[in-house]
């Protein structure tokens, strides 16, 4: 009987800890949260100078990464943009941007998955992991 009460209390403590953990990020799995944390480190190193700490961009030089429509509509092109860069003009949040973006060819598919999970969940409205498989598939179809 004592044992049973003991077990119950442990379960209830565990349950409340889990509740607290999940209540911070209600819609995001632990895997997605881990990808985003790793992605933030890479983002600071490779992307933040131009695109800003909050993905706000800079004037008409560098586009913001907060346009959820752009992120959702171009989800399958994002991996190629990160790896190979971008030239020509694009429309983001109703403005035209034509500054050439340098690529970062040394990034591995998992690095790109980390970065894109961070960008699409922190600045966009995605709640799911941008997986390695998704990155590899997209990279196979780069223009």
């Amino acid at each position: 009987m004592i044992n049973r009460a003991h077990t119950l209390s442990i379960i209830s403590i565990l349950f409340s800890v889990l509740m607290i953990v999940f209540s911070c990020q209600p819609n995001v799995s632990i895997e997605t949260a881990q990808y985003a944390v790793n992605g933030q480190k890479l983002y600071v190193t490779h992307c933040q100078n131009c695109h800003g700490a909050k993905g706000e961009g800079l004037g008409n030089l560098y586009p913001p990464l907060t346009d959820t429509n752009f992120l959702n509509q171009n989800r399958d092109k994002l991996a190629c943009i990160v790896k190979n860069g971008l030239s020509g003009s694009i429309e983001v949040s109703g403005k035209i941007y034509d500054t050439e973006m340098p690529g970062i060819p040394e990034l591995t598919p998992v690095d790109i998955a980390y970065i894109l999970t961070y960008v699409t969940t922190s600045f966009g409205n995605s709640t799911t992991t941008y997986t390695q498989e998704e990155v590899k598939k997209s990279l196979g179809e780069c223009l």
Binding site: Q48, N49, C50, G52, L58, G59, N60, L61, Y62, T99, E100, P102
Partner: protein, 215 residues
Amino acid sequence: MRNNLLCAFGLAIAFLASGCSDSKTNKRLPHIGNHSTTEKVVDGKTVIDTNYYQVPEFRFLNQDSVYISSADFADKIYITNFFFTHCPSICPTMQRNLLQVYEKYKDDNRVAFLSHSIDFKYDSPSVLKSYADKLGVTNQQWQFVTGEKKDIYGIADHYYVYTKEDESAPGGYDHQGYLVLIDGQRHIRGAYDGTNDEQVKQLFEDLAILLEENK
């Protein structure tokens, strides 16, 4: 006993803190660089004047293909830096922060901004003009200039900012991201790492102090 000690320690800290805030109200910025002195005789008495380090006169081509010179900055406080338009590393952060200062002091004729391009090969006046427009600079208060390599790199030395052509650096040029604060007599009054938020905050504070000094 121990409580007494703690109490005394706390009081000492409180005194120190109040001492700091007192001195802050009439704070003056230092003059950076080597000083020299000259003696002269005024009304039969020998007087010693301090000559602060002064950035030499300059003349560069701006974003409108017009030559501007140090005379255009006479009696103005200006903030200057070194960058290039396709710089992939520190420049965007530095310019984003300087843009905040520009936006705060926009149309305040006491304050000006001067960005030197260290990429004398690519950054022609038209490239600088396009960059300035896209950054969000809409008046003549912030000038973007180019010039001969020796002149640009030479003036960087005079502002104590390191600049170098370096193939191994990102974008081909190595340089420091300092925002240098210059008073109306071309004396250097402060230098702040334009990629460090704390130091940029200090720049805002020091600029306000320098504006008070000129009143």
